[in-house]
Amino acid sequence: MITVCNLRKTFGDVTAIENISLTAENGRVTGLLGPNGAGKSTTLRVIYGLVKPDSGSAEIDGTDITTSPQAAQQKMGVLPDQLGLYPRLTGREHVQYFGRLHGLSEDALGARTDDLIRMLSMETIADRRTEGFSHGERMKVCLARALVHDPGNILLDEPTNGLDVMTTRTVRELIGQLRDQGVNVLFSSHLMHEVSRLCDHIVIISGGKVVAEGSTEQISDAAGEDNLEDAFVKLVEGVLN
């Protein structure tokens, strides 16, 4: 479970996030929806500990990210905005590297790596160097790498961006599986259909603030629109005006 309270972060004169509070619960898919530049990535970066907030707090299963970053990071798997693969390492080596950094024993790591490779159907690419991988193949390696230590919380920054239909399906199925296992999935996106399809709980951010929260229906009702997209546009424009 992730609890975020009154986060604020500025970069120089620019206020990236003004005031963000949200809760992402276990066994649920929480979607962070917002236009480009709304503060989605910054919010996630604060949660996974690469950006220090000016004020406010973020807790992962009760552990504060600013006071004990490593204990908190141990509890989450992250697919960051920048995938960041090493072109000269194979898919399997990427997974193993991150597993070792999480302190997994060699035996457990071997078994877990094999499981993940099967789960993401990447048997044919696992032992090839990632140089020249397609975007979908790269995404799979990154997902496997994020899941290697079997975390209770998964953070995905725009996971289906630019993916083909086949890989998008794999990612969707994976998210569903993880939710069913009781994992907390928090992901950001600006793709309406993706969010309305996958999420149990939606948090709409605009201009660094939360403008609406709830299920698809709750948000549509609150905005007085029939569908999420119209509701989204109305809410976001409301903030910008």
């Binding site: 500990g49 490593q70 990071q73 992250v78 090493y86 950094l101 999480h102």
Partner: protein, 387 residues
């Protein structure tokens, strides 16, 4: 597996697969000794050629006594008819010795008799041969002059009011070491070159490829990443240093240095001493490169900063040229200078006190560890990822 080891192994594997980095790390150790070998053997063959080549001479019959005297000293002659200037200018001859017709008459009258050496001082390759004949003729002059004084009842010592007598105390091996001063500098330089690719690729390279964000989310202290990267780069640099040194030693043993009147001998113990003296530098050099690489946003950026580091190992060589004072213990404590002194002494066959090794190793490692700490602090900033 400890996280430091995980980082170390990953960086090592990544670098070993980088053909360009491996090539540039290994080319340097091979290139230097090869150049030394070809330069020295060429130098030696020029010297021995000088002694074998016949001296081109014009009007040889004008100075039979001089010719006999020179012949007794191993000089051979070939008669030369034609224009001496043209021949030297066309590089057919290194020089031409001409005995003018007036020689014999002036010589018989005990007046200064001239011989002419036609040469071109801008030709470096002809210098040795020209100097040799000039010095032989000076010797002949000294001998004849002394005899003439004696026949007049004057001691030849009258001609030598004061004379400086040189007493050489350097061993032949030390002279060889001086002739080969650039070798310690080259070995020190190897520490700076061989690990550079790894140090830059694992810092500026990570920033350029945007791999740092994913890496730094892992629950490991940032200093662990820096330490692992440092050890991997230092490993590469150490291999480079040791390879350079071994190749230099092998090459020196295969150059016929005796023909230059030099002697170069190393025992296995000395090789070990040299390795011990230099490998801490591998850690220092890579710690500097890691720090500079972290400031740079791209590989190219980093290389332009790090290029300046190459001057660092040259500084001690320059220092010792301009401050030719005796080695003092404190000098060993200065990184780069200490290693330079140790290598020069070991190669020169001088005994080096153990305190020299200990001081230079400790001071070098302290500075290196300090720089790694600074880099780790820099890694803790947000700007390392998001700028």
């Amino acid at each position: 597996m400890s996280p430091v080891r995980a980082v170390f192994i990953k960086e090592l594997l990544d670098s070993l697969r980088d053909k360009k980095a491996v090539m540039s790390a290994m080319l340097f150790p091979i290139f230097g000794p090869a150049v030394i070998y070809f330069m020295m053997t060429a130098m030696i063959s020029i010297r021995s050629e000088v002694q074998e080549t016949a001296v081109p001479i014009q009007n040889m019959d004008n100075a039979p006594h001089l010719i006999r005297w020179l012949t007794e000293r191993g000089v051979t002659f070939e008669r030369f008819d034609g224009d001496a200037r043209d021949a030297v200018e066309a590089k057919d001859k290194d020089f031409v010795l001409i005995i003018p017709d007036a020689y014999q008459k002036r010589f018989a009258e005990s007046r200064t008799a001239y011989v002419e050496v036609v040469h071109d001082s801008s030709r470096a390759d002809a210098q040795a041969a020209t100097q040799r004949i000039a010095s032989l003729i000076r010797g002949y002059n000294g001998e004849i002059a002394a005899l003439r004084l004696i026949t007049r009842g004057v001691s030849p010592d009258v001609m030598r009011a004061v004379e400086a007598r040189e007493i050489e105390i350097a061993s032949k091996q030390q002279i060889a070491a001086r002739a080969l001063t650039f070798i310690p500098m080259y070995i020190v330089l190897a520490a700076f070159v061989s690990g550079m690719g790894v140090a830059v690729d694992s810092t500026a390279g990570e920033r350029e490829r945007s791999t740092l964000e994913a890496l730094l989310i892992n629950p490991v202290d940032r200093s662990v990443f820096v330490t692992g990267k440092w050890l991997a780069a230092a490993g590469f640099a150490s291999v480079g240093v040791i390879l350079t040194m071994l190749l230099c030693v092998i090459v020196l043993q295969h150059i016929p240095l005796e023909e230059l009147g030099l002697k170069f001998q190393v025992t296995p113990m000395q090789v070990i001493a040299m390795v011990l003296a230099t490998f801490p530098l591998a850690f220092l050099a890579t710690s500097m490169q890691l720090l500079l690489g972290s400031f740079a946003k791209s590989f190219k950026d980093a290389q332009s900063y790090i290029g300046f580091l190459v001057f660092l190992p040259m500084a001690p060589a320059i220092f010792t040229v301009f401050n030719p004072i005796a080695t003092q213990t404190w000098m060993f404590a200065i990184p780069c200078l200490g290693q330079h002194l140790l290598l020069t002494d070991v190669m020169g066959g001088k005994p080096v006190p153990a305190v020299g090794y200990v001081l230079s190793a400790i001071s070098t490692m302290i500075v290196a560890a300090g720089l790694v700490q600074v880099t780790a602090r820099f890694f803790k900033r947000e700007s390392i990822i998001f700028s």
